[in-house]
Amino acid sequence: MDSLLVIAPVAVPAAAACVYAVLGWNRVTAWLGTLSAAGLLSCAVALAAGDRRDALGGLLLSDALSAFMLLVIGAVALLAMAASPAYLAAELAAGHTGPRAMRRYGVLTQSFIAAMALAVLSSSLGLLWVAIEATTILTAFLVGHRRTRQATEAAWKYVVICSVGIALALLGIVMVHYAGTRAGIASLDWVVLAEHANRLDPGVMRIAVMLLVLGFGTKAGLAPMHAWLPDAHSQAPAPVSALMSGVLLSVAFYAILRVKVIADLALGAGFARVLLVVVALASLAVAALLLLGQRDYKRLLAYSSIEHMGLVALGAAIGNTLALVAVLLHILGHGLGKSVLFLSAGQLHQALGSSRIHAVRGLVARAPLLSGVFALGLLALLGLPPFSLFASELGIARAGFAAGLGWAIAAALVLMLVIVAAIGRQGRRMLLGGGPGEAIALPRSVAVPLVAGLAGCAVLGITLGPLHSLLQAAATIAGATP
């Protein structure tokens, strides 16, 4: 029974993918994805409530950290899948997609969710790698869903850059395996590696950790390997962008968190910290620079994801309990807020036929509900209370000053100020200004997940409730120093 609960988060979406492959996407099966995401979320809740469990002879392992990541995957998948039927119906009505493409959408999104669940549940570095590389392959055709020139270009860049990045991570794994074999541990299991980390050769581990951070960092959208992200996120269908930005980036970052535990034990806390601070500040700087003159609202959201992954990396670099709890909370808050924004941006794109910021004018008058959600989502991303990103950013900043990384926090705050100004200005242009045009209707089945996502983000900013102990336990597993 226990092991079944660990397998279910992977098996449920995989089964749903099979159903889509057989039955295609129609009025009835359109809601199957939502159902499967709800199933995944309830498994995550059950796993979070229990202790450590393993399955398939130790290949899968669920501890507090994996359970928390599963919660994030489940929550974002639920929002994205609930908004999918209306999104695809509108695409079909506009002639951008057909029955075959919709069937493929069903199969690929469900397999993508299954691969992410497998990544966070795998007990070894090797299986984690396979799962993360699988997400690249599964989402390639989703990015190129519309088959336009831009979509094809984005898909090509996405597959090439991410495959190269993840290949570097594989080389890192090969080296960890080498160091392990020489130290008498022929295993890539997290727990085993962490137990014997002090026996791993530091010279080899230094190269390995660098490659792993660079490799998984590519997939997490961290600078300097972030180039694929704005293209892919702006071209993918809105629910897929929500999944990619909301969870896929964090799932890749989860791999870095696991690697950091071993790196800290093998090399001392300084090595991974320096690496992470460098990529964090570089990501924030890239986001700030490119947000300033941004003319496309989907790319605006994509660069904001680079910013938030930079903040997450900064928090991980600090590495004490407060910082890691804040990092995990930030991952959840960003997942909810960003998927709300990408989903509403998708509605805008469908209504206007353009993702140019100057094409959007006077949104408040034309679509009160949609613009309200969009505005609140932007405020959430900018880290304003009551949304949870305020709490998590405050936590990261406080932890950073306490841990002697005040200079990095100060630099990050300056860059964030630039980002707030840039996003605020563009947001104001879209929401206000210009005369009212045609009204934009928001289907109820999309409005519900949007409002729910924002509400969840706001509630988390006020109280953690039962999540509190889970976050503490997960931070301990992620190697929190007191």
Binding site: L59, S124, G126, L127, W129, V130, E133, A134, T136, I137, A140, F141, G144, R147, T148, R149, Q150, T152, E153, A154, A155, W156, K157, V159, V160, S163, V164, A167, L170, L171, I173, V174, M175, H177, Y178, A179, T181, R182, A186, L188, D201, G203, V204, R206, I207, P230, D231, S234, Q235, L290, G293, Q294, R299
Partner: protein
């Protein structure tokens, strides 16, 4: 197998592995590049089999044959098919000319040698002493990837990197665990298939696979 013969055979396989990598930089004819890639797959297979015979490990020999089937036969076959379908025979002017590319390869070899010192020091066997060769091919693959302009040669660059990583795995630890190796092979195969489909779409959308055409998305 005697020690001397083992070392000679291993060095021969590694030499062929490196040479095919360097020659990719030299040739601009796309079908010759695919041939070189297939030959490199053969060299990699030979390397794994030599290691397997030396360690008297039947499983390793069989894995070597599997690696060979994928990298010396199936992947080159897929690429040749894509090449025939595209009707494009030559690399357009690469960003870096051939003479400079070969010089860069020499610099990359020195870099790989310097970087792999900690790896060799940990266990200086004949096999791990060949790791710099694998890392050189990795860097050459990356160089091909960033300087070539045809979709197919970019793909070859990626696969050279992948061959190099596989070689590193076998030279250092006789390969990663079997489940992982299978997953990796499957992922690489699927990545190639995905890229192939995208090349077809690219040809339909842009009328060619010149990656310079890909400039609609920028800031």
């Amino acid at each position: 197998m005697t020690d001397a013969m083992y070392i000679q055979l291993l060095d021969l396989a590694c030499g062929a592995f490196l040479l095919t990598g360097v020659l990719v930089l030299w040739r601009r004819d796309l079908s010759a590049i695919v041939w070189l890639f297939a030959l490199q797959g053969v060299a990699l297979t030979a390397m794994v089999i030599v290691l397997g015979v030396r360690q008297d490990d039947l499983e390793l020999i069989l894995i070597g044959l599997g690696v060979g089937a994928l990298r010396a036969a199936l992947l080159p076959y897929l690429m040749r098919r894509a090449l025939v379908a595209s009707g494009e025979a030559r690399e357009t002017q690469p960003l870096v000319n051939v003479a400079t590319s070969l010089l860069v390869a020499a610099v990359l070899a020195m870099l790989a040698y310097a970087v792999s010192q900690p790896l060799v020091r940990l266990s200086p066997t004949p096999a791990t002493q060949a790791v710099p060769v694998a890392l050189t091919v990795l860097l050459i693959g990356f160089f091909v990837l960033v300087t070539r302009r045809r979709a197919l040669s970019q793909l070859v660059g990626f696969l050279l990197m992948d061959n190099a990583i596989t070689a590193t795995a076998f030279l250092t630890t006789s390969g990663v665990p079997l489940v992982v190796e299978l997953g990796i092979s499957l992922d690489v195969l699927l990545a190639v298939l995905v890229l192939q489909v995208l090349t077809t779409r690219m040809r339909a959308a842009f009328g060619g696979t010149d990656l310079d055409e890909l400039r609609e998305l920028h800031d």
